[in-house]
């Protein structure tokens, strides 16, 4: 959404409120991260005032929903307090509170939802329901000042290619089984490389790929615009169990990453060829992956499109994206009664009507 549009919106929607300042606090707790962000529009300029979070890192295995939710409960007060202190904003000063109601892990979602409902009721602030996937896209559009990109959204829970059309983000292609982030994490875990999954900003599979030098043929499954990673995971794990040394394991990591990323880039490329968009946006947790950025950038260039990514701070789950999306929704009058603000573990990106996406 362009600044000019926001200003127009102020003129039409903001008459009842203070015109110079709108502040929304957003809470994210869909999965491993509990985050609080504050977004504002100050004299027509969108701003992220603060982005605080605490990430649950399992000692072994993957994310345990109950453990993660307990982490969120323990950390929530401090994260919230830090966000308020750093930004110098008081809860009574905010215009609305936004919360990611889904999609995500039930126990985790409920932590964020409970806090948001409480603040909303206690301080009498409007509550804005935000879809987590929409938020990942909107923050990417905000930081890169994009209006209408082809979106590649990749994380531990999602892998999809989307465009905006007729009031919604429409899904052009997505994974039919496991997401790309999940593929990399599961592989790293099963072969004993993780946790930790990310070391020094690099995923274990990327580190491992540097040990290898040879490409091995692995199953490549693209069905139309959809992807399937489960066969690739099984085949790679089977080969990894037979690996004799670091170089052989490195070859498998290299080939796994090459195959998986090529699948995703192909689907994105199909979407780009079909829609002829001029901008490609990579967002979601896996947007931090340098190698995927490189591939998508090269692909976009082939089609005369520009490639954009999101900085690490906003790539993974965060509260700022929920606050910003909540702010947009609030401007258009989308709010929910706290008593009806149930969490939605399943809530598809393409089920959400978004007033700022044009009708055509």
């Amino acid at each position: 959404m362009a600044n000019a549009d926001i200003q127009n919106l102020f003129v039409t929607q903001g008459k009842e409120r203070a015109l110079d300042k709108i502040i929304v606090l957003g809470i994210e707790s869909t999965s491993h991260t509990f985050g609080v962000g504050i977004a504002a529009i100050i004299y027509g300029e969108p701003k992220i005032l603060v982005n605080e979070y605490s990430k649950y890192v399992p000692e072994k295995g993957g994310i345990h929903p109950r453990e993660a939710s307990q982490h969120h409960m323990a950390k929530a007060p401090r994260v919230l307090r830090n966000a308020l202190n750093k930004s110098g904003i008081k809860l009574k000063d905010i215009d609305a509170i936004a919360v990611a109601l889904g999609p995500g892990l039930g126990p985790c979602l409920r932590v964020g939802a409970s806090i948001a409902r409480f603040i909303s009721s206690y301080y009498g602030k409007p509550l804005v329901p935000v879809n987590h996937a929409v938020a990942h896209i909107e923050i990417g559009k905000l930081v890169n000042k994009l209006n209408d990109p082809l979106v590649v959204y990749v994380s531990g829970g999602n892998t999809l290619v989307s465009i905006q059309r007729r009031r919604r983000y429409r899904v052009l292609g997505e994974t039919l089984d496991i997401p790309l982030g999940n593929l990399l994490d599961t592989f790293a875990r099963e072969v004993g490389l993780a946790p930790p999954y990310v070391v020094g900003g690099k995923h274990q599979v990327d580190i491992c790929a540097e040990w290898g030098n040879e490409f091995i043929d692995l199953p490549y499954t693209v069905k139309g615009n959809d992807l399937s990673f489960s066969g690739l995971l099984t085949a790679a794990l089977k080969k990894a169990r037979q690996a004799q040394n670091r170089i052989e394991l490195g070859n498998i990591c290299l080939s796994l990453r090459e195959t998986a990323f090529n699948m995703l880039v192909e689907v994105a490329e199909r979407g780009l060829a079909l829609t002829r968009k001029k901008e490609v946006l990579l967002t979601g947790g896996v947007a931090a992956n340098e190698y995927l950025n490189l591939k998508l950038d090269k692909m976009a260039q082939l089609h005369g499109a520009r490639f954009y990514t999101v900085p690490n701070e906003y790539a993974g789950d965060n509260g700022a994206m929920i606050a910003w999306t909540g702010l947009l929704l609030y401007l258009y009058g989308v709010t929910i009664d706290p008593q009806k603000a149930f969490v939605k573990q399943r809530w598809r990106l393409d089920e959400v009507d978004l007033p700022w996406i044009p009708e055509n």
């Binding site: 999809l160 997505e174 997401p179 139309g224 192909e266 079909l274 399943r346 598809r348």
Partner: protein
């Protein structure tokens, strides 16, 4: 146009298309481009496989009498196919401006052709409205790079799932009309029993998408009553 002359037409996701004259026939040269973002070995194998399968299946379908471009020449090592030129428009470009009766005719035709294809154990792998060309009253199916042979109902269902989603993405208001007649045409060849089975499978595939409410409901019901 001189024989052998190449005129660049368009670039798709994986190939460049050129207009040419081959042995006196107006033809399309489809060249699968090496991609700088792929590992060289991967790229070579990838383009080879896609080229072979496309040429093979299109030839087979042509023999079965489907509306697909005829294959004139194949060079898999260089990722090149020369095929018949079809003069028309992609359905993805023109569906919105067609008369209702034409939409119905094309939907019926696509249904019948998909049915014959599946009956012969072939799946397309990327059956979207962008991969169909309408030329006069004929509807052609193109772009078989993702196709293959399989007896698995799943592959056939995925074809239809992709078709349905491509219409939903580009022309949501025409989706129900088009798919209604598509299924009608499909059942004419495949018979009702098979068509119903396939419809169920398509529904199942749709539910596999991420975060679908109905899937959760179904599981809860299952746990409750079993």
């Amino acid at each position: 146009m001189d024989p052998g002359e190449l005129v660049f037409l368009t670039q798709g996701a994986e190939a460049k298309l050129y207009l040419t004259v081959f042995l006196g026939f107006k033809s399309i040269a489809k060249y699968r481009i090496p991609k700088p973002y792929r590992h060289p070995e991967f790229d070579k194998l990838f383009r080879y496989r896609r080229t072979i399968i496309e040429a093979k299946i299109m030839s087979h379908l042509r023999i079965l009498g489907l509306n697909v471009p005829a294959i004139y020449y194949v060079d898999p090592d260089n990722g090149l196919i020369i095929m018949e030129y079809i003069d028309g428009h992609r359905l993805s470009d023109c569906l919105g401006v067609l008369e209702r009766s034409s939409v119905i005719d094309y939907a019926l035709s696509l249904g019948k052709q998909a049915s014959i294809m599946h009956k012969n154990t072939i799946y397309h792998g990327d059956l979207t409205i962008a991969n169909t060309i309408v030329s006069g009253n004929k509807l052609y199916i193109i772009d078989f790079g993702l196709s293959g042979y399989s007896r698995d109902l799943e592959e056939y269902a995925i074809d239809i799932h992709l078709l349905s989603r491509s219409i939903e993405a580009l022309y949501p208001e025409l989706h129900d009309l088009f798919m209604g007649y598509f299924w009608k045409g499909y059942a004419e060849i495949a018979g009702n029993e098979f068509t119903v089975k396939l419809k169920d499978k398509v529904h199942d595939i749709r539910l596999r998408g991420r975060y679908i409410e109905e899937r959760l409901r179904r599981r809860i019901m299952h746990e409750k009553y079993m």
